[in-house]
C-alpha cells in the first residue's frame, strides 16, 4: 500500500476496486449495445409534434369550417326572409314611379326628384 498522501494511483487498491466492480459478460454487453445502435433512434418530442402537424391542421380547418357554417346558419336564422317586392316597396320609390307613370314632363321631374330625395 502506498502513502495515502502521494499523488500516484494505488495499484493494489485499484486492482481490488476493479475486481469488485467488474461485471461479467463483456461480450454479451457489447453485442447488446451494438444491437441497440443498429435500431433506429426513438422519436424525439419534435418528431412526435411534426407527425401531428398535418392531422392537426386538417382538424383545425374542419373545425373552423364547421364553426363558420354554424355561425352563418345561425345569423341567417335571425333574419326573416324578405321578398324582392317587399324590399323594393319599403323604399317608397315604386309608389312614386307608379304615380308618375302617366308620362308627362312634370311627372318625370317629380319621379326624379323623389328618387334623388330618397338617396
Amino acid at each position: 500500500m502506498t502513502n495515502p498522501f502521494d499523488s500516484g494511483p494505488d495499484e493494489r487498491l485499484g486492482a481490488l476496486l476493479r475486481e469488485h466492480l467488474e461485471a461479467p459478460g463483456h461480450g454479451v454487453f457489447v453485442a447488446r449495445v451494438r444491437r441497440a445502435l443498429a435500431r433506429p433512434a426513438p422519436d424525439t418530442s419534435w418528431d412526435v409534434l411534426a407527425a401531428w402537424v398535418r392531422p392537426g391542421l386538417a382538424a383545425a380547418a374542419a373545425l373552423a369550417l364547421a364553426v363558420s357554417l354554424w355561425i352563418g346558419l345561425g345569423a341567417a336564422g335571425d333574419i326573416e326572409p324578405v321578398s324582392l317586392a317587399d324590399a323594393v316597396q319599403s323604399t317608397g320609390v315604386p309608389e312614386t314611379l307608379l304615380a308618375g307613370a302617366g308620362g308627362d314632363g312634370a311627372s318625370t321631374d317629380a319621379m326624379l326628384a323623389a328618387i334623388v330625395g330618397e338617396r
Binding site: 481490488l16 469488485h20 461485471a23 445502435l37
Partner: protein, 185 residues
C-alpha cells in the same frame, strides 16, 4: 485501453461520419470502464448495464459534437456517469446484497475464497459508505488510471476537489481494508 493500431480519435471520426462499426469498436474498447463507472453510481449490475448502454447510445447520438482534439475517454465517461445518475433518479435502485458470485471450479481453496468473499463484502460496505463523488473519484483514479484533470472534467468539479475526494476516499477504504491488506502485504 487495449493496444490497437486505431486510435480513439480515428474511430470517433469514422463514427461521426456514420460508421456504426467504428463506434462499436469504441464500445468494445471502453465497455469495461463504462460498466464499472455506472456500477459505482448504481451498485447493481443490471441497472449499471442499462445505464452504461444508455450512455453509449447517448454518445453515439452526440458523436458529431465530440471535439476530437480532446481525449475520448473522459467525454464518454461523463456521459455514462450522467446516464447512471439519471437512471438512479428515475427509479428506485434495486439494491442487492448478493456479493458472492459463484465459485470458480478448480479455483482458489475454500479458505482463500472465503477470505476473498469477506474482502469483497468489506469493500462493498466501505464503498457504499462513501459519498458518490468520492467513490467515482477514487475508482477513476486508482482503478481506471484517469488523471485528476480528467476526473475533474468527467465530474464537472475543480481538480483540487478531485484530489481531496481521492484522498478522503482512500483513507476510508484503507482503514476498512487494513486487516486484509496487512495480511497480503
Amino acid at each position: 485501453m487495449r493496444n490497437s493500431p486505431v486510435t480513439d480519435a480515428e474511430l470517433s471520426a469514422r463514427a461521426a461520419a456514420g460508421d456504426g462499426d467504428a463506434f462499436g469498436e469504441l464500445v468494445d474498447r471502453h465497455a469495461p470502464q463504462a460498466r464499472r463507472a455506472a456500477r459505482v453510481v448504481l451498485d447493481n449490475d443490471q441497472d449499471a448495464d442499462d445505464a452504461a448502454q444508455d450512455g453509449f447510445l447517448a454518445a453515439w447520438r452526440a458523436i458529431d459534437r465530440f471535439d476530437r482534439s480532446r481525449p475520448f475517454r473522459p467525454w464518454l465517461m461523463r456521459i455514462v456517469v450522467n446516464a447512471a445518475r439519471d437512471l438512479r433518479r428515475r427509479q428506485a435502485v434495486r439494491r442487492t446484497d448478493d456479493l458472492s458470485p459463484a465459485l470458480a471450479a478448480g479455483g482458489p481453496s475454500p479458505e482463500r475464497e472465503t477470505e476473498r468473499a469477506l474482502l469483497r463484502e468489506r469493500l462493498a460496505g466501505a464503498l457504499a459508505a462513501l459519498p458518490e463523488r468520492q467513490r467515482l473519484a477514487v475508482t477513476m483514479f486508482d482503478a481506471e488510471g484517469f488523471a485528476h484533470s480528467e476526473i475533474a472534467e468527467v465530474l464537472g468539479i475543480p481538480e483540487g476537489t478531485v484530489r481531496s475526494d481521492v484522498f478522503h476516499a482512500r483513507r476510508a477504504l484503507r482503514a476498512t481494508l487494513a486487516p486484509y491488506l496487512e495480511e497480503t502485504r
